[in-house]
């Protein structure tokens, strides 16, 4: 039994690292799981979400755009209507992909599949689970966004070489929404509460300078819109695809960085409270 005993005991070099209990550096195992699950069950669902912003672009940008003609952006630049709304819809594509995965899918796994309970009885920590799931949601958002940007390019709606930077910007947006989406979902207990998410998402999509500049609103309403995340995404991406780039855009980047951090902290805390009480 002597060899057993040696294996049983903690090596003297084993020191307490508080971060270790939260993070095993193995978020990719959670992503691997997501990839296998998507591959075998619900890849078709993914395709549908991809077309939504494209339909909007065709209907509003091309259809309605012929009536609207050119519009001037926040920066005073005059662009065709389709080129005005396309970057907004690109940001929306990233948001939708990220939100779908990080809210409904996470809610299901949490409430019904008891998936995280299983994960957290292995050496994975709550931050591994949070990061892995958020990265998956982010990837989905990114996939939608890449597809959408190809359509934009084909329609000649990328007006500047800066548009190449729209891709990392869109990743940032997806990351922000996925992170906050999962954090909020982790506190939800019923389907009714989940419906509140859609209740917030739809008006945010319609009113965040997506289809027209927010200068049409009274000042106080502009502040409200500017406090919401999508507006920052829309402005950031629009600046890049239309080539109206300035240092002020870094505020939008900062906004998302803060979203990501807050989302990760709360998701990790909540998973820990739920499954490692």
């Amino acid at each position: 039994m002597s060899d057993l005993t040696q294996r049983d005991l903690a090596p003297a070099s084993l020191r307490v690292r508080p971060a270790r209990s939260l993070y095993a550096g193995n978020a990719r195992a959670v992503m691997f799981r997501g990839w296998r699950a998507t591959r075998s069950t619900n890849w078709l669902v993914m395709v549908s979400g991809f077309f939504e912003p494209i339909f909007y672009l065709l209907a509003m940008g091309i259809g309605l755009g012929t009536l609207v003609g050119d519009v001037s952006t926040e920066g005073g630049q005059v662009v065709p209507y389709a080129a005005f709304i396309a970057p907004a819809l690109l940001a929306v594509a990233a948001m939708n992909g990220a939100i779908y995965d990080s809210t409904w899918n996470v809610f299901f796994k949490m409430q019904f599949a008891r998936l995280y309970e299983g994960m957290l009885s292995t050496s994975l920590g709550p931050l591994d689970v949070a990061l892995g799931e958020i990265m998956l949601a982010l990837l989905r958002g990114a996939l939608y966004a890449v597809g959408f940007q190809i359509v934009m390019q084909a329609l000649g709606l990328n007006l500047s070489w800066w548009a190449l930077l729209a891709l990392p910007a869109v990743l940032l947006i997806a990351f922000g929404f996925a992170s906050v989406g999962m954090a909020i979902t982790s506190y939800m207990k019923t389907f009714q509460q989940m419906d509140w998410i859609s209740f917030v998402m739809l008006p945010m999509f319609l009113f965040s300078a997506t289809f027209y500049p927010i200068t049409v609103y009274p000042q106080w309403l502009q502040y409200v819109i500017q406090a919401l995340p999508l507006w920052h995404g829309v402005e950031l991406v629009r600046g890049l695809t239309t080539g109206a780039v300035d240092w002020g855009m870094l505020w939008h980047v900062l906004y998302y960085a803060v979203m990501i951090a807050i989302g990760l902290v709360f998701t990790t805390k909540r998973l820990r409270a739920l499954f490692l009480d």
Binding site: T5, S21, A24, A29, A37, E117, F275
Partner: protein, 308 residues
């Protein structure tokens, strides 16, 4: 003397005012098969969660493999196999994928996990089900897959929470056989159950738990010797007559236990007691003499039946 793999001393878990586990102490030696026997709500699962390093204790000391779960949760969990009470298999993945993915959660290399997955499918007698959907498996198969999954990291200790609850007798025997093999290979088992036959089959040693505290500890045979007689005579006189008849059985056997549906007479010789009773003009509708079991131990200790 080898170091115990699990040491619990005055272990307490409180949820608000309610103490789910109220001062439990036990030790489990390497290779031992140790059981927590008790009714639902006795605190068995809560104890298992604390040992599994997924629930923190309110008070007391706990070490698993020499480590404190408050400080070394991931290190401990990486060496445990956990079979929870309710199956939490990944239904979005196929049978073999469940093993592959779970192995990856432990950070094990893909190739190693793939080899183990095939071995474990064979061990769980699910070789031909590798590509099946989890939902298409029977209850017994799901349990075996859950056990196979718990073994994917080659754990030092296997925690089984009510491993055969809800299974039909044949599925239970297949499962017991698998667990017995693990025991023979020297895997340390910690299991909870409310089936006395399961505890007698699988446990080298066990504690009887009720309302968060330990009522007795020992080997199944020793517990039966200590808290019960060799044989038990079970009689039914009809639900309305049992209590009435019991009053006339004074002096029969070592001890009487009157349940709503039957009367139990504890004695060294059940047949002899039955003759005395019929000789006295009492004729039970049915009678049965059997050996004492842990059920009787539990009844003696708590005044209640295990399964109600």
């Amino acid at each position: 003397m080898s170091q115990p793999v699990i040491v619990a001393r005055d272990l307490v878990k409180r949820y608000g005012e309610f103490a789910a586990v109220d001062g439990i102490s036990f030790e489990v030696a390497p290779g031992e098969s140790f059981g927590l026997l008790g009714p639902n709500g006795a605190g068995k699962s809560t104890t298992m969660r604390m040992v599994g390093a997924v629930s923190t204790r309110t008070a007391g000391d706990l070490t698993i493999l020499g480590l404190d779960p408050d400080r070394f949760g991931p290190e401990i969990r990486s060496q445990l196999g956990v079979v929870p009470q309710a199956d939490n298999l990944d239904t979005e993945l196929r049978v073999r994928e469940n093993l592959l993915v779970y192995g990856r959660y432990f950070g094990l290399p893909r190739k190693l996990v793939a080899e183990r997955a095939d071995e474990l499918l064979a061990f769980a007698q699910l070789e031909d089900k590798g590509k099946a959907k989890v939902d298409s498996l029977s209850g017994g198969m799901k349990r075996r897959l859950t056990i196979a999954r718990a073994l994917v990291n080659d754990p030092r200790v296997l925690l089984l929470d009510e491993p055969t609850t809800g299974l039909d007798p044949q599925a239970r025997h297949i499962l017991w056989d698998r667990l017995f093999r693990l025991k023979e290979q020297g895997t340390t088992l910690l299991l909870t159950t409310h089936y006395m036959d399961e505890a007698e089959q699988l446990c080298d040693r066990l504690v009887v738990v009720d309302k968060g505290t330990i009522m007795a500890e020992g080997t199944p045979a020793a517990l039966i010797r200590r808290y019960s007689s060799r044989e038990v005579l079970e009689m039914r006189f009809g639900s309305d007559r049992n209590a009435d008849v019991a009053g006339r059985l004074a002096g029969i056997g070592d001890r009487l236990e009157v349940l709503p549906d039957r009367i139990l007479v504890y004695s060294e010789n059940g047949e002899a007691e039955l003759e005395r009773i019929t000789g006295a003009g009492l004729h039970p509708i049915t009678s049965l003499v059997r050996r004492s079991s842990l059920e009787d131990v539990f009844l003696r200790l708590t005044g209640r039946s295990l399964i109600e």
